[in-house]
């Protein structure tokens, strides 16, 4: 029995976050391929019925249909990770994860726009997108530099959480939109550790 169904587009980095979570948590799941580009299938009535905002990913678990990347990550961790590690239950641990999920949803949105502009020629000012993206990624590098001095190797806890999953693709895929890894040494170290997690999967593209 495979209850979890992910409506998935292979080249969508938000879908990649959920694929990563499902794989890192070792869950059984089934993908349903959605023809986003060029078919715009995610904007057709059956998909708008599941997410009126017209975005992927969408996750179905039995009767529950969820949209919103961070909500899906939080749900998968809370409902399907008995260890509680991926979304710590204690107040501070939970809040630290939420802080970085929020950063991912809000501040890293620009990196998704930059990547879509670069890959799919969606509208946007390339220079401005790149500048804002590198600013957001630098905030992550500063955080992980400071964490390193406190002997903490992950964004929000002493181990990997869904915060790391939410943040990983923006950095790993940054070369798709012209931002190299040269100037983010703390993120390079973190990404190396992340790629060594059991169950890690790559994304099509220059994922490093």
């Amino acid at each position: 029995m495979s209850a979890l169904v992910l409506f998935n587009y292979e080249l969508d980095e938000s879908c990649y976050k959920v694929r990563l979570a499902l794989s890192l948590l070792g869950l059984d799941w089934q993908p349903v391929a959605v023809d986003v580009f060029p078919g715009k299938e995610h904007l057709t009535p059956p998909f708008l019925a599941m997410n009126p905002a017209g975005r992927l990913p969408i996750l179905r678990d039995g009767d529950l249909v969820l949209h919103g990347t961070e909500a899906i990550l939080a749900y998968v961790a809370r409902a399907h990770d008995p260890s509680g590690k991926w979304l710590p239950p204690d107040g501070a641990g939970f809040a630290m994860v939420m802080q970085w999920l929020n950063f991912s949803a809000r501040d890293l949105g620009i990196t998704i726009a930059a990547r879509q502009h670069s890959l799919f020629d969606t509208p946007g000012d390339e220079t401005a997108l790149r500048a804002a993206s590198s600013q957001a990624i630098r905030i992550m590098d500063d955080h992980m530099t400071a964490r390193g001095f406190a002997r903490a190797e992950w964004f929000a806890a002493g181990h990997a959480t869904i915060a790391d999953i939410a943040l990983f693709p923006a950095f790993a895929l940054s070369r798709d939109f012209g931002i190299d890894h040269d100037e983010y040494p703390a993120l390079r170290r973190w990404a190396r550790r992340f790629r060594a997690l059991p169950g890690f999967k790559t994304m099509p593209g220059k994922c490093k």
């Binding site: 001095f149 002997r151 890894h181 220059k206």
Partner: protein, 243 residues
């Protein structure tokens, strides 16, 4: 600053883990800095001779680096040793990546684009890594900014003046009392500069709290250089005139 015979820092030793690589630039020239699994650091031209792909996108395999595109593998001397599409081929010696000298000192990886460089000045001090700062300014402007933020003491605790020392064209130090930071100057291009910061002293004394203490200074310095206050700008102008 001359591009010629100098040694130039291209990163903190700590930032390039064994079995990993990173791209960088020196005077606009693209370089890959990589460390083989035995721990030896290498600085090469960042370009696979096959199709021009950046080697810094590739993967370190033991004492080889492999290109991401077609997996061509190069040994420590830069010679191509293996081409996956032609596994039985004896690879011609002409398939070679230009290799530069690489040495480690003061917690930094140094290279030179010269074939006959002067010896790298010996500094036996122990260091603890701090961080690298990447700035949108010339090396000269970054150097002029080094004294902009007061360095607060960590080891001695007593307040003292912040003093900027020029050790070589590419290595400075900022000190206060018993505390001293080494600052390697990397001219990435005419308008982009990296400062590689390391704390002089033992890990026992500085690891952890000492690093966090000086990280504050580093971030304040970056802010000051990126968004100089009118007073700081005036002070820099005066200092530049004195030099």
């Amino acid at each position: 600053m001359s591009t010629g015979g100098n040694w130039h820092p291209v990163g903190l030793s700590y930032s390039i883990e064994a079995g990993s690589s990173a791209g960088t630039r020196l005077f606009g020239q693209e370089l890959v800095v990589w460390r083989d699994t035995s721990g030896m650091a290498h600085v090469w031209e960042d370009r696979c001779p096959h199709r021009g792909m950046k080697l810094s996108f590739g993967f370190v395999r033991g004492d080889h680096i492999a290109c991401l595109y077609h997996g061509w593998q190069y040994d420590r001397a830069g010679y191509c040793q293996y081409i996956p599409a032609h596994p039985d081929l004896e690879v011609p010696k002409t398939f070679k990546v230009p290799v530069y000298l690489a040495q480690e000192q003061g917690g930094m990886i140094w290279t030179t684009l010269s074939e006959n460089p002067p010896p790298l000045p010996v500094d036996r001090d122990q260091t603890v890594p701090l961080r690298s700062l990447y700035l949108d300014c010339s090396a000269g402007a970054a150097i002029a900014g080094l004294g902009m933020v007061r360095l607060m003491p960590f080891a001695s605790g007593a307040l003292a003046d912040t003093i900027v020392h020029r050790l070589t064209d590419t290595l400075y130090a900022v000190s206060t009392g018993d505390d001293r930071l080494l600052i390697g100057i990397q001219a990435i291009s005419d308008t982009r500069t990296a400062l590689h910061l390391a704390i002089c002293g033992s890990p026992k004394l500085y690891e952890g709290f000492g690093q966090s203490h000086f990280l504050d200074w580093a971030l304040q310095l970056r802010r000051a250089i990126e968004q100089p206050s009118p007073q700081a700008l005036a002070a820099r102008g005066a200092a530049a005139e004195m030099n």
